[in-house]
């Protein structure tokens, strides 16, 4: 058990070091969300008007935009085991006494720390959009961001656990990451779109994470995910994401622990 926690700490530390030393990656993770914010916000906001009373489109979209760099970076940090394998570093980890489950959990923990940093940076935009951020909001956001990032890095790990090269990577981006981004209710309230779109969005665990974070900013009135007639609150949505993440991580650990 001691070994497990040490493994988590050591690996998370390394992920963190890599992140802060990789300046291009740090900046580029913000470029896309900010472009979306400007284009969609300025472009559609007036056209669409208010989503619900007192919440206009750009305010509606902002919590999702805040999550975008977190989503991307978390999936990528999970998938980065493929790079570690390709460049040999994974062997250094695998022959060390570090606990394998702890290594994967450490990757997820590292992604969580990075997600918090990204979240704080994205928060700086809030005042310009007239989105109120009180201490309560911040305190709610911290666990929500951690859970969302955990689930996504676990997904990345699951994908990367057996992948042998970077070739499948483009495919992965197009088939998994982009659909997950666009079908997550970042850009539209899932209850107000075509039926098929709504179903797909509700099958996407990210939707629940985004909805919880949106509620943390804008209150329960914006709650948008209704499953079997029940509208999901923050806690329930967070639970869904956490459980899905736990399943992904368990799967990844299982795949990872198999030795030839």
């Amino acid at each position: 058990m001691v070994n497990f926690f040490r493994s988590v700490r050591v690996i998370a530390h390394r992920e963190f070091l890599r992140f802060i030393q990789d300046k291009p990656r740090l900046f580029s993770s913000f470029s896309m969300p900010l472009i979306f914010l400007v284009i969609f916000g300025a472009g559609f906001s007036r056209l669409i008007g208010q989503i619900i009373p007192d919440v206009d489109y750009i305010q509606f979209m902002y919590p999702g935009i805040l999550c975008m760099p977190i989503l991307m970076t978390s999936v990528m940090s999970g998938v980065s085991v493929v790079w570690d394998r390709e460049f040999g570093f994974l062997k250094e980890v695998l022959v060390s006494p570090l606990n394998r489950s702890g290594v994967l959990a450490g990757k997820a923990a590292g992604a969580g720390i990075i997600a918090l940093i990204q979240g704080s940076i994205m928060l700086a935009v809030a005042p310009f959009l007239n989105v109120a951020v009180g201490p309560r909001t911040v305190l709610t956001l911290i666990p929500l961001i951690l859970i969302l990032s955990f689930a996504l890095s676990a997904l990345g790990l699951l994908i990367g656990a057996r992948m042998r090269s970077q070739q499948g990577f483009q495919l992965l981006m197009q088939l998994v990451i982009f659909p997950m981004l666009f079908l997550s209710g970042i850009f539209f309230p899932v209850a107000q779109v075509a039926r098929w779109l709504e179903v797909l969005s509700k099958l996407n665990p990210v939707t629940y994470g985004i909805d919880a974070i949106r509620q943390a900013f804008l209150g329960a009135e914006v709650a948008g995910v209704t499953v079997f007639g029940h509208t999901m609150g923050i806690l329930e949505s967070a639970l869904v994401v956490a459980m899905v993440g736990a399943v992904f991580l368990t799967g990844a650990i299982w795949v990872f622990n198999r030795r030839d």
Binding site: H13, L17, R18, E86, F89, L90, K91, E92, R164, D260
Partner: protein, 325 residues
């Protein structure tokens, strides 16, 4: 005391049997080497000993621990320098070493002093803040050696430790390793397909197609060749070959226009041979047998001939890309 004990190790990858029943022991403080051509199964054997692969059959103990059942104790006892770099290119040398120190739970205060000592030993202390990306091959190798020693392992595994390095760097690295062995009573298991590198071992196992063909001390292996190697160039090699076989009852071989054969006590044989040989001799040499000769004798071919095979090089390139496994 035996630090490594392997008995009847077998590893199969699908239909391919990479290691076919290999048994050996390595004593404490010994430098033991696997010498064999590309694809002989050296890396596979190391991967089994260092717990990265399960053996298909057979068993092995490292530092007294079973490599399958007690893998975490084995991992704590060994240091590894793999055939390819396993450093994190995006971190600095110091960060790579610290990661290793934390991973092996080296106490903090000890870590600081060892870090300095080892980085100075491999002459990289001044470059410790540089990212590995900026390092060239020899520096990476040296850093990996330092890293492999950071947690004071009982056994150091070196898979082709100086592959692709220039002779000067190779010599330096071997100076470190020999010095270490003396200071720390370290046991060293290495693989190589360089003959001259295998000369650093106390004992060598020649491995070919997954089997140990012969295993002994360097001296015994060379004595086994049956004396000294004489090499001659003559004005009519074909005629010379015939005479050597027919009249002298020797088993000469000819490569690149040079005839070589072994005789006991070569220095006594040579004067009479040169004056009495019917075919004019243009040059003559006498040498103690090398591992090359041992290899030639036990496998019937030269280790170099294989490397010159272009198909094999192709295979190597393809394999090199999938180096992740």
């Amino acid at each position: 005391m035996n630090v490594i004990e392997a008995s009847n190790l077998v590893k199969r990858f699908g239909n391919l049997e990479a290691v076919r029943g290999v048994s050996f022991t390595v004593r404490e403080g010994e430098i033991f080497g696997f010498l064999g051509p590309n694809g002989a199964g050296k890396t596979t054997a190391i991967n089994i000993l260092c717990t990265l692969l399960y053996p298909t059959a057979g068993e092995a103990k490292v530092n007294g621990y079973d490599v399958v059942k007690e893998c975490s104790k084995v991992r704590q006892s060994i240091g590894l320098i793999f055939q390819e770099s396993t450093l994190d290119d995006y971190l600095t040398a110091e960060q790579n070493l610290r990661f290793h120190g934390y991973a092996y739970a080296v106490p903090r205060d000890v870590l600081e002093s060892r870090l300095k000592e080892l980085l100075e030993m491999v002459e990289l202390w001044d470059r410790r803040k540089a990212k590995i990306r900026t390092y060239y091959g020899g520096m990476k190798r040296r850093l990996e050696i330092a890293r492999g020693l950071l947690h004071r392992p009982r056994v150091l595994f070196l898979d082709e430790p100086t592959l692709g390095l220039d002779p000067q760097t190779r010599r330096r690295i071997w100076d470190y390793i020999r010095d270490l062995r003396k200071r720390e009573n370290l046991t060293i298991f290495m693989t190589t397909h360089y003959m001259d590198e295998a000369e650093n071992c106390d004992r060598v196992a020649i491995i070919d197609y997954g089997r140990i063909v012969v295993m002994d001390t360097l001296e015994a292996l060379k004595d086994g060749v049956g004396g000294d190697v004489i090499s001659v160039r003559t004005e009519d090699n074909d005629e010379a070959m015939r005479l050597l076989v027919g009249q002298y009852k020797l088993t000469p071989s000819m490569r690149n226009g040079v005839i070589s054969f072994t005789v006991p006590r070569g220095e006594e044989f040579l004067p009479g041979f040169v004056s009495g040989f019917p075919v004019p001799i243009s040059s003559v040499g006498l040498a103690r047998p090398t591992l090359e000769d041992v290899f030639l004798q036990v496998t019937g071919r030269s280790i170099r001939e294989q490397e010159a095979d272009p198909m094999h090089d192709m295979k190597q390139m393809v394999r090199g890309r999938g180096r992740g496994r």
